[in-house]
Structure formats: C-alpha cells, structure tokens
Amino acid sequence: MTTDLNTKIFASVPDAEGRFGVYGGKFVAETLMSALSELEALYRQLADDQEFQRELDEDLAHYVGRPSPLYEARRWSDRVGGARILLKREDLNHTGAHKVNNTVGQALLAKHMGKRRVIAETGAGQHGVATATIAARLGLECHVFMGEEDVRRQALNVYRMKLLGATVVPVTSGSRTLKDAMNEAMRDWVTNVDDTFYIIGTVAGPHPYPMLVRDFQCVIGREARAQSLAQTGRLPDALVACVGGGSNAIGLFHPFLEDESVAMYGVEAGGHGVASGEHAAPLTAGTPGVLHGNRTYLMQDEDGQIMHTHSVSAGLDYPGVGPEHSWLKDIGRVNYVTADDAEALAAFHDLTRTEGIMPALESAHALAYAGRLAATMTPEQTIIVNLSGRGDKDIHTVADIDGIDF
C-alpha cells in the first residue's frame, strides 16, 4: 500500500453524489431516482437517531445473537503453519451468515418508511433467507428473486425461504445467476416502488445502498477490532475476507482502514483459474464500467457486454463488485487476490476436519488464501479471517463434486 496515504479520506466516502472516487453513483432509470433520494434522506436522519440505533443494537444482540466470537483456529493454524489464524464467526449468527446484519438494518428502514412488502435478490440463498427471516418477524410480504441455476444448486435454502413464508421467484433470463436475479429485482422495484422496499444484499447497487449496507456490516469489523485487542493484546497483522459483491469484506475491513499496520486481502473467486477466463474476479481481471446502478470493476467483453461468470460458490458468482472495493483497489489500501474452486474445496474439507467448523464455500475462498498467506508469516503474527457463513447449504454441492448421490 502507499505509505503516505491520508487516512482521513476513508471517512469521506461516499461523497454527496454517492461516489467513491470515480466509482459508485446512481445509474438507474428515472422512475427509481426519487425512491433512492427518499431512502437516502431517511437513512441520514436515522443514522443519527438514538432510538433507531437502540432498536438496531437490540435486534443485533437478541435476535442475531451478536457479538459473534473471534475464535483462534489452533489446529488449523498449526496445519498450515506460520501466523496464528483467528476466525470471525459470522457463521454463528442467526440464519448462519453475515447477511442478517444488513437485513435487520434495512428491514428497520422499511418499517420506518411504512412499506408493506420487501424484495431481495439472492445468489447462494443466504441473503434471501436472511430477508425472508426478518420479513416473517415483521409480518412483511417477501419476494426473493433467484437465478434458476442457483435455485437448483441451493435447493435447501430455497425450501428454507418457502418455510419462512417468502415467495421465491426463479429467474430464467441471461445467465440465470445472481446478476440476473438483481436485474429482475430492479424490474419488480420499478413496478412496485410505492409499497415495496428493496433490500439489497451487498455493497453494490445505486447510492445509497453501498453506503448503508457497509454501515450495517461494519459491526463485524468493530467487534473484531475490540476482540483482537482484548484477546491478543494487539491489532491483527492481516485481514482476509472473500469478495463477491463484497459486503462481508467491507464490514470487516472498514473499521480497520485507518490502522496502517493492518494489511487487507479481499479474495475473489478464481473459478477454474483466472487464466481460464471462467471465474468471478472482476477486481483481478476486469475493467471499470456501469452495471446495477453503479460504476465499478466488471467482467465485460470488448463491447461492454457483461460476461458470464463461474464459481463453485453461488454467492461469489457475480460479474461486478461493490464500488468502494474498486476505489480501495485503485488507491492501494486493500490487496485483491483470488482462490480457485479447488483451493476453496480443499480449505472447506481442511477446516471441517481440523476444527469441526464447516465453512460456506464463499468463506472457504478466504480460508484458502489465508492458509497461503499464513505460511509466509511468523507465529508472532495474527490473521483474522471472516468466516462469513456456515457450510450446511453447500453440502449437496460438495457431495456432487465428491461423486456422492443421496
């Protein structure tokens, strides 16, 4: 990273237009512009409202089950060698992933706006489940858009959403994955904008979503920073998190951005290997463009068409990334790297067998890179890995790959 970085800039983004440097913004159809302005105004008002913050904190403590532990994975650390590895256990949250931190927050916004219906896009299904869960609790109608391909590979989460009372809408356009689910959610929102709140699951989309999803997810990094100081007496040397849209990563990284001694690694899905072209790594191999309401790094061809992506993990199978990550890449504060399908699967098995913790395949990408990184460090150093979700939802995918038929 650049050493003369002015740390104050991290608190200055996004600007009033929702930009992180040249990234972000509001690239949506005119019909949605006033809904976004309304949301931004309400959010800015409630962000300083003590009653709202108290309500949010109570939900996070008593419904989500926060704080989540920071757990030292001793046997796994010994196995990979080098630095001590600590896991931020977002998998222990209610619904099994970090996604609920954000849905609880956005659902409170929906309630304050008097919306009776919420919609969401989902890839792996974790955000869909987290949205269906909070909708059940608040008595809101819930529609979740999910690519047909993801409906197939995440059947368990589809059924969970149905049990929670949500309607799961399979999306058959385009590549039938997360990006197409987001297109369809936008189409629903533009049609039902009067009574519907769109709960976006990641730090992408038009302003103010990248800002407010980041703010709701920052509880991860705030806790991890305090836990690291309390449990190890120091800040970690490195942070590692997987990056699809990038919400768990920004949630962990953001509260540490001004700590210059802390290195950060965002791990994109390498799929069959970046050289193969079959991956989901826009920060590693993409170029800036405009998709889903913001300017950011994208996987696109020479004509500006969005490319199909591949990852073994549905939650990382997305051709874009949150605009703040694009900015953090350009200014050099965060390193963006990849782990491929095979490495992630190996890490999935490794952590399961050495720690009794079954990680989500998304999180397994972060683990795979952390293992490589740890081996280059010393036992006096520590790494915090965001264990962003649990792996129960991926058992069918892993069994398929292992040739096991239930």
Binding site: F27, M33, N183, V190, V193, G289, R295, D303, G304, Q305
Partner: protein, 273 residues
C-alpha cells in the same frame, strides 16, 4: 436546429403526432434491421428508435429482454447498431434516428469516440436508460460537441424540482415514461399521463413523447390526445418475434411490422387537429 427538433416542429405545424417505433438492432438477425427501418418509415414512422443490445437490460419487460438476447445471439453490438445507421442513411437522409440503450456499452466505447462515430454515421440522438441527470455531464458534453440530442426520461415519480433540472439539460424531446414499471407493462392510464404531461409543460416547451404500455392505435390515440408523440416498442418487437418464431421470410417480417405501424399511424392521424 437538430433533425429531431425539426421533425417535431414540422409535425406540430401539420397538427400531427410523432410516431416513434422501437426495434432492437440485430433482432431477429443482423440483415433484417435496416430493411425494417425503411419499412417502418414507409408505414408512417417519424423517428426511428433503435435499441442497442445489452446483456442486462434492467428496464425491459420479457418481450424486449428476449429481443436483446436474440440480437446478442445474432452478434449485434453497439458498433453494429452504428453501422446499421450508416447503411440506413445511404437511402434515407431525412428520418431522425436515435439509439436507445444502457450506459455500459457506450461508456466502454468511450463517450468521445461514441460521439465521433455517431456523428459520422448520421445518428441524431442517444437515450440511455440508466444515465440520469446526476451522471450525465460526461456524455452530454461529448454529444453536444457533435450537435447530437440527448433524450431524457421523465417518470410518474419525478418530482417537480427534478423535472425542471431535467428539462434544462434536455434537447430534442422529452420521453415521458407512462407508467411505473418495465417496457411492455399493461397498466397504462391515459388520464394519469395527461395530468403529468400538463405538469411537465409548465416547465418546458420541448415536445413530449410518451412510451411504455402503448400497444395499438387505440392506446396510441388515448395518449396522443395530450402528447406530441408516442413510442411503440414491445408491441412491435412482439409481432416481429412471433413472425420470426414461425419462420417467416424477411418480406413477411417487414409486412407484419409495417402493418402495425401503419394502423397506429392511421389512428394518430385521425386525431390530428
């Protein structure tokens, strides 16, 4: 005066409404687009709106989404749409043509390069669904440099103050989105459209064309009673798609498209003042 503004002025002088058909460049194949454009003009189109295929057409309903998918499968890209305009201009130098699409293909080409090429092929305007006034400065500067109109959308949800800021940056005409929804939706309310158009006219003298939900002569006339023009997209794309799916010859494709446009033309001319 731009060709688009000139066309609206000419129609206004005749007491007629502008008919603006929309097709997607390369749908159902590359070879049929320019002949379709000429057939639409012969059937009474005043301005041609040519859709630029995009992998993620977020504001489109199922009919136009599928048209984008067919066009991409036939190999059509932004540069092909520009080439089609150039070919169209070999025979028709009068009818204004505008491209309608999404930001990314234009942004990827580069706004300056796009403007240069667009001017060279004889394009008259650009409408990007996902570049609102807040994000438009870069592209507008380039379009204005080559004398091209940037067509803005105003929606039923656009508040009064925004209408004023939009019309201040717009030229050519204003595209009023008739309903909250995607293209091809069925919930058109002509009275509601009339009320919104009256508000917009308080802020501008630019012509107002209305699109989304207009599918035949009857709906065109209801909207045309208060608008300066109508845009017909999904209904036209749908008749082309159905003919193509049935294996129609190019001649038949042109015929069904021309029939729909001619019937709307005749309806609109029946309400001419």
């Amino acid at each position: 005066m731009s060709k688009i503004a000139g066309r609206f002025q000419q129609l206004a002088a005749q007491g007629r409404k502008a008919l603006v058909p929309y097709i997607v460049a390369g749908d159902p194949n590359l070879a049929s687009t320019v002949p379709l454009m000429h057939a639409l003009v012969a059937a009474g189109a005043d301005i041609i709106e040519l859709g630029v295929p995009f992998s993620d057409p977020m504001s489109e309903g199922p009919v136009i989404q599928k048209a984008h998918e067919r066009a991409l499968a036939s190999g059509a890209r932004l540069r092909d749409a520009l080439a089609m305009v150039a070919t169209f201009r070999e025979q028709d130098t009068e009818t204004p043509v505008l491209l309608m699409g999404y930001a990314n293909p234009v942004e990827h080409m580069g706004y300056a390069r796009f403007a240069d090429q667009a001017a060279a092929v004889g394009l008259d305007g650009l409408l990007t669904v996902d570049i609102p006034p807040e994000e438009v400065a870069g592209v507008n500067a380039e379009l204005h440099r080559v004398g091209m109109d940037n067509i803005f959308l105003i929606a039923p949800t656009t508040p009064k103050a925004r209408i004023e800021s939009i019309v201040n940056q717009a030229s050519g005409f204003i595209y009023y989105v008739a309903l909250k929804g995607v293209t091809g939706a069925g919930n058109l309310d002509a009275d509601d459209v009339a009320r919104h158009l009256a508000h917009i006219r308080e802020a501008t003298t630019l012509p107002l064309a209305v699109g989304f939900g207009i599918k035949d002569a009857e709906s065109a006339c209801r909207v045309g009673a208060t608008a300066d023009g109508v845009v017909v997209g999904s209904a036209l794309v749908d008749v082309i798609a159905q003919a193509a799916a049935e294996g129609a010859s190019q001649e038949d494709l042109l015929r069904v498209a021309a029939e729909l446009v001619a019937s709307i033309r005749s309806g609109l001319d029946s309400i001419a003042s």
